[in-house]
């Protein structure tokens, strides 16, 4: 089979996959790559949301990366190349201390993140979690690269079919999952008279400082049981 034929097959496969439930994509990745867990996140600038996770443990790790704005997922997305952490110690734990601490507590020994990238379009990240330490095999690595490309086409194909300007139904989970966080950022924006983007950063900072998840803090704000303090000190006085 020449490479053009395999590209066409992959595109056809991706379009087919796009029609089935996105929730099953992670299970498929776990099965095909023989890894412990997987998460698929779509990203756009600072915004990110998982379209699926293979289990709760993965969900918590993906949430933490979003909350603190660091981790293999973000590194893979910004660099555009795969990030390999076959052991969660030394240099890796210095780079992502909170992530490594939670991953270890969750019984994760190794993490690998592949950017969803094809023809220069970057749409998100596929993160693979392994119970044991150690590099992926060459075959697993090659398959992950291929899967990442297929997943990119899947995500783009899903969006191609959506009504103009609207997010595809299959990708809506990425926003719906964090809906309360975005709603809370809108509320804090009004309370503190700051832009919504900044409000989101305040919520993340508050959660981190108080050792709570961003989702929990957002839920309290939306339920009107928590108001963030207006601790912003103007740098200059008019």
């Amino acid at each position: 089979m020449n490479s053009d034929q395999s590209t066409r097959l992959a595109v056809a496969f991706a379009r087919e996959t796009a029609r089935s439930a996105t929730a099953r994509l992670c299970t498929a990745c776990v099965d095909v790559l023989a890894v412990t867990g997987a998460g698929i996140t779509i990203m756009g600038g600072e915004q990110a949301g998982p379209i699926c996770v293979s289990d709760d443990r993965v969900a918590a790790l993906e949430d933490l990366q979003y909350a603190i704005g660091q981790g293999p997922c973000r590194d893979a997305f910004s660099s555009g190349i795969s990030v390999h952490a076959p052991r969660l110690d030394g240099e890796v734990s210095a780079r992502w201390p909170s992530f490594v601490s939670l991953a270890r507590k969750s019984g994760i020994g190794a993490v690998f993140a592949y950017p969803l990238i094809a023809w220069g379009a970057k749409v998100g990240v596929l993160t693979l979690y392994q119970k044991g330490e150690g590099e992926l095999t060459t075959a697993q690595h090659d398959d992950s690269l291929a899967l990442a490309e297929v997943l990119t086409e899947t995500v783009l194909s899903l969006q191609d079919d959506a009504p103009s300007g609207a997010l595809a139904a299959g990708l809506d989970d990425a926003v719906q999952y964090r809906a309360e966080i975005y709603q809370a950022s809108g509320m804090v924006a009004i309370q503190l008279m700051i832009p919504a983007e900044e409000a989101l950063l305040r919520i993340r900072a508050y959660a981190f400082a108080n050792d709570q998840t961003v989702a929990d803090v957002a839920a309290l704000i939306v339920a009107r049981r928590l108001r963030l303090p207006n601790d912003h000190q103007p740098e200059t006085e008019d």
């Binding site: 749409v123 783009l156 969006q159 997010l167 595809a168 709603q183 809108g186 924006a189 309370q191």
Partner: protein, 252 residues
């Protein structure tokens, strides 16, 4: 082989290799497809016994357009073919095959084109297709001062160069499409997030719940004939004030 001929062959071999490296190099990272094709025409003149070269590509509607040429004069000759709907390039594009005409002074299948060539000082012409499998994207035209056309090995080299150029064109197209699709996804994602943020803003401002906030957002959009996502984005960036959606209530 004489010393001179040997040196010339060695130089040509080096230039051929350099040309391929140059074209492949441009494929890594950002590149300007017009620049690649113009480079191809000038290298054709240096490598082959051609006096000039030009490239035509089909647009979305299948009409050929002049993309690059080694000289201004060739630009005009190529344009002439397109306008008069005759010439080696058109035949090459239609059939996807190499068209070689070794003596334009003899009976030519393109009488008007042959006359224009004679005036410009060209005696023979060769056109090779820019192709991707069965699909012809356009063609590369070479003009020679002497009758006799190109040798078989020159034609093969021209075709190899044309094939590399075809990859550049296809890659350029795919990258453009991809950038548009990525942009659409990013915009849809951010708009969808803006709706949730706008709901939070309206809910806090009016001291109401999210469902009520969403229906206020929707009815404002409807009564002001605005798109829901566009209105949400305008609220988030402050172009539309949240007080416009409903009066501010003090929290109890």
């Amino acid at each position: 082989m004489t010393g001179d001929a040997f040196a010339k062959a060695a130089t040509r071999q080096t230039l051929t290799a350099t040309t391929f490296v140059e074209i492949v190099d441009t494929l890594v990272g950002d590149f300007d497809v017009i620049e690649v094709l113009t480079l191809l025409t000038s290298r054709c003149v240096e490598l082959l016994d051609a006096a000039a070269a030009g490239i035509l590509l089909a647009d979305g509607d299948g009409h050929l357009r002049v993309i690059g040429a080694s000289t201004e004069q060739i630009q005009l000759l190529e344009l002439f073919q397109v306008q008069n709907n005759e010439g080696p390039c058109l035949d090459c594009f239609r059939t996807g095959q190499v068209v070689l005409h070794s003596d334009l002074d003899a009976v030519s299948p393109w009488p008007q084109f042959a006359a224009e060539c004679a005036t410009a000082g060209f005696a023979s012409v060769c056109a090779v297709p820019l192709r991707l499998q069965a699909h012809t994207l356009g063609c590369l035209n070479m003009f020679m001062a002497e009758p006799g056309g190109l040798t078989t090995s020159d034609v093969a080299l021209a075709q190899a160069l044309a094939d590399v150029a075809s990859i550049a064109i296809i890659q350029d197209q795919a990258t453009r499409d991809s950038a548009i699709r990525e942009g659409q996804l990013q915009h849809a994602l951010n708009s969808r997030i803006a709706i949730e943020q706008a709901k939070g803003m309206i809910a806090e401002n009016g001291q109401i719940d999210m469902d009520e906030a969403f229906s206020r957002l929707r009815s404002y959009a409807r009564s002001h004939n605005r798109g829901l996502t566009e209105l949400a984005e305008a609220l988030v960036v402050g172009v539309v004030k949240v007080d416009a959606i409903g009066p501010r209530q003090q929290p109890t």
